[in-house]
């Protein structure tokens, strides 16, 4: 190379590092200067060293392929970090707390009096068609009235610099272990920048998570027994389940390790016999949680778990049914939900969202498919999505038919030109689009990770960042003071 920032093109996009060719943002000065001083081989060997540590540390995610079965892939990390000024971050942080607080009020209301529906602020039909509403949860009172203890919200920045919330993941959001591991790896390769860059640490997440979970324990005395419940090693996020259990010093259990007694108490099978469990951080979807209550064919769950939870003998995080607010149609109402429960204006805006249930907006969507992103209401991981500008006529026609058949199941949003961050492409540095997933914890207190997991679309021009779709990741630096 070396990197020539003067040749770095950012026209028409918002770049997180460079204001314009040759002009770094204030908080990115040290970083750009440092990178520019590296020669081609140095930058390349830093990236190679990072990839080697990832391989050796066994940081993986699992993908399924029809031909090869489940394969463990090394976690993709681009060493050039995404940077953000601490002042901006603090505003985002309070916006996230506000949002998740309101969502928890909403879920609790939905499973009790449904005041928001009675007051005409939320349509009953939307709830009636929600696939994540669990009638089994009606009337249950989880500790502190909190249902979504761990939330991963996806943030995107548009070309004008506005940060939007794109979605809230309230079921079993993953990615936090990669946020922590990315930092470990990047610290190894850029020690100089960490010495005096004002980069805020991210490492206290596991202890915050433990405190959050321990506060849910139904037993007031003694140290609560907190466990992480995983579907097992073939789950794509198994690495994370194991990592989190290890970091919290908790047992990592599978369904078969747990046992619910006749008096509705949960135990785990140990070499000394049965031992009581107080809090379960479950990484299994609702429908697989308990074959007695939900899918009878689930081999992953624990028969009787719902009985124990309803009896208040064990806490589940997230609570079953919390996913009712994790629905792309409900999403469209979140600004109203914030106003309704908290009587505050939303700090973070939603991406403008068209509900296909309303005739007027449905017609608008159908007419403008080529300019929009259409998403199924209840899929995650980027599956079943249509990205208008890169779609074929055939794909658009198919989507139009699906929308007409089941309008409740689709929302559409204008295409957001995600902001970019310089990324290593071969031996060059080019802008690549990113999003950001911070994690928000709620129980007796609230906590937001410092930054979060930055995901990056490694293909030129692509806006799809999901790791299951070939996306990569970056370390996220929240920078205090004039900084890096």
């Amino acid at each position: 190379m070396t990197i020539r920032w003067r040749d770095y093109k950012v026209e028409g996009i918002y770049d997180e590092v460079m204001k314009a060719a040759g002009r770094p943002r204030d908080h990115a000065r040290l970083l750009t200067r440092y990178l520019a001083a590296l020669d081609e081989d140095e930058l390349f060997s830093i990236q190679a060293a990072a990839e080697l540590s990832i391989k050796e540390m066994g940081i993986t995610f699992t993908v399924y392929s029809q031909t090869e079965g489940s394969i463990d892939r090394a976690w993709p990390l681009d060493v050039i970090p995404r940077v953000m000024a601490a002042d901006e971050w603090r505003r985002i942080e309070s916006g996230l707390k506000q949002r998740v607080h309101a969502l928890n009020c909403f879920i609790n209301d939905i499973y009790h009096h449904q005041k928001i529906i009675k007051d005409g602020k939320f349509p009953r039909e939307v709830l009636a068609k929600s696939v994540n509403f669990r009638k089994e949860c009606v009337g249950v009172d989880p500790p502190q009235g909190v249902w979504a203890h761990i939330c991963g919200s996806d943030l995107v920045r548009d070309s004008d610099g506005t940060v939007y919330v794109l979605e809230d993941n309230l079921r079993v959001p993953s990615g936090v272990s990669y946020m922590l591991e990315n930092r470990q790896v990047v610290k190894r390769v850029f020690p100089e920048l960490f010495e005096n860059g004002g980069i805020l640490p991210v490492d206290d997440y596991p202890s915050q998570l433990f405190d959050c979970l321990a506060a849910l324990s139904p037993r007031r005395s003694g140290v609560p027994e907190v466990v992480v419940l995983t579907p097992g090693i073939y789950n794509s996020a198994y690495f994370e389940h194991s990592y989190i259990a290890q970091q919290m010093g908790c047992e990592l259990v599978e369904g078969g390790d747990l046992h619910v007694s006749e008096d509705n108490v949960v135990y785990m099978r140990t070499i000394e016999g049965l031992s009581r469990v107080d809090v379960i951080y479950r990484r299994i979807d609702d429908l697989f949680l308990d074959p007695e209550a939900f899918r009878k064919d689930s081999m992953l769950g624990v028969p009787g778990l719902m009985r124990a939870w309803k009896a208040g003998n064990v806490a589940l995080a997230n609570a079953p049914g919390a996913g009712v607010a994790d629905d792309k149609v409900v999403y469209a109402y979140v600004p109203d939900i914030i106003r309704y429960y908290l009587d505050e204006d939303p700090i973070l805006p939603n991406v403008p969202t068209y509900l296909c249930t309303e005739k007027e907006s449905r017609d608008h969507v159908l007419k403008n498919l080529a300019k929009m992103v259409v998403k199924p209401a209840n899929e995650s991981g980027g599956y079943g999505m249509l990205v208008g500008p890169v779609s074929t006529k055939k794909e658009r026609d198919a989507m139009a038919r699906r929308i007409k058949n089941d309008p409740r199941n689709f929302i559409a949003q204008p295409v957001i030109t995600l902001s970019t961050v310089p990324s290593i492409v071969g031996k060059h540095v080019e802008p690549r689009h990113v999003d950001l997933r911070p994690f928000i914890l709620s129980s007796d207190q609230m906590y937001v990770t410092t930054g979060g997991l930055t995901r990056v679309a490694m293909r030129k021009g692509s806006l799809v960042v999901n790791s299951s779709q070939g996306g990569g990741s970056k370390d996220t630096w929240i920078i205090e003071g004039g900084g890096v």
């Binding site: 050796e56 097992g232 990592y243 259990a245 599978e254 390790d257 099978r269 070499i271």
Partner: protein, 326 residues
């Protein structure tokens, strides 16, 4: 400690030890054959017998050529006892309990598996084999060292040790059994120098040669070698030495009465053995070793019954365990 985790640790110990032992018998056999005249050399078939895998071997291979036997024992994915399969199973077990074992241990196993997989071609070549196997054996020993140096001596550690030591005792008895059967009788005096070499190779298969020389201080003879490998108090690969280690681990675990009495039974069998008779008669030796194998199997079953599959856990268990018993 979760029963499932204990079981995974136990099998992790077994698989790592199995990879090491298999590596050693291949290396030692290669070395031995270079020293023996063609007419009396036992070839490679005994290794298949030692590992008790004749049936599955014959499904793929029709002769006992070096190339085939080595491929089968080192790099054949279809052979559940091959080094590559053992390492892959060790890795799967370690992955499942990654939260329990020290991070360095996981990294070591992961790296070792990747090394073994990526360098297999060189490991199968005559020239590259020694270095390849040596690296695998050394990594297995590093794993043992890491475990004792970085793991709390808690129940998990004891299960890891139990798996390792029982696997080792099993291998020691198999090596003695098969090797003695294929060795020429001691009285064929003209061939004495070669008998010597063969017993040295048995000792070497068990890394016992050096210790034997230090502690027995006699030239290598069948009776002395047998006594050393069966009964020596201090050598960690002698059958008796293994039994003592197993008992020490069990002592640290809760409710260990049943497995410990199985250990006591094995101890009694070992002490009742008539080494002098075994030195003269292969069938006496073979019968005795059969007895030892049965008792070792009993200890394994008692451990499984006491800690892994207790009565109340009648539920079908997960894939990791199915894999572990393969």
């Amino acid at each position: 400690m979760l029963s499932r985790v204990a079981e995974n640790l136990y099998w992790l110990g077994r698989y790592m030890e199995r990879a090491e032992n298999t590596g050693r018998i291949v290396n030692v056999n290669g070395n031995l054959l270079l020293d023996l005249p063609k007419g009396i050399a036992p070839g490679w078939q005994p290794l298949i017998e030692i590992t008790g895998s004749e049936e599955s071997y014959r499904q793929t291979y029709s002769d006992f050529e070096e190339r085939n036997v080595v491929r089968f024992l080192v790099g054949d994915n279809q052979n559940p006892g091959s080094i590559i399969s053992s390492l892959s199973m060790a890795r799967e077990n370690a992955r499942t309990i990654r939260d329990v074992i020290p991070r360095e241990s996981w990294e070591l196993i992961n790296e070792l598996y990747l090394y073994a997989r990526d360098n297999l071609q060189s490991g199968l070549s005559k020239r590259g084999r020694y270095g390849y196997l040596k690296r695998i054996m050394r990594a297995s020993q590093t794993f043992v060292g890491l475990s004792s140096g970085a793991m709390s001596a808690d129940a998990g550690y004891e299960f890891l040790c139990l798996g390792r030591i029982l696997e080792r005792a099993d291998m020691t008895t198999r090596i003695i059994d098969v090797r003695s059967a294929s060795l020429i009788p001691s009285e064929t005096s003209g061939l004495l120098p070669f008998e010597n070499i063969q017993w040295i190779s048995v000792l070497k298969s068990l890394t016992a040669y050096q210790m034997y020389r230090q502690h027995v201080q006699a030239r290598v003879r069948r009776a002395d070698a047998l006594r050393f490998l069966m009964l020596d108090n201090d050598f960690p690969r002698s059958v008796y030495g293994c039994v003592a280690l197993v008992d020490e681990s069990l002592k640290e675990l809760p409710t260990s009465e049943a497995p410990r009495s199985a250990v006591a039974r094995l101890e009694k069998v070992i002490k009742s053995g008539d080494i002098a008779k075994m030195a003269e008669s292969n069938s006496a030796l073979h019968g005795f070793i059969d007895q030892l194998q049965v008792e070792l199997g009993q200890i394994h079953s008692e451990i499984v019954r006491t800690y892994f599959h207790m009565e109340e856990s009648a539920k079908p268990r997960t894939q990791s365990q199915a894999a572990a018993t393969a």
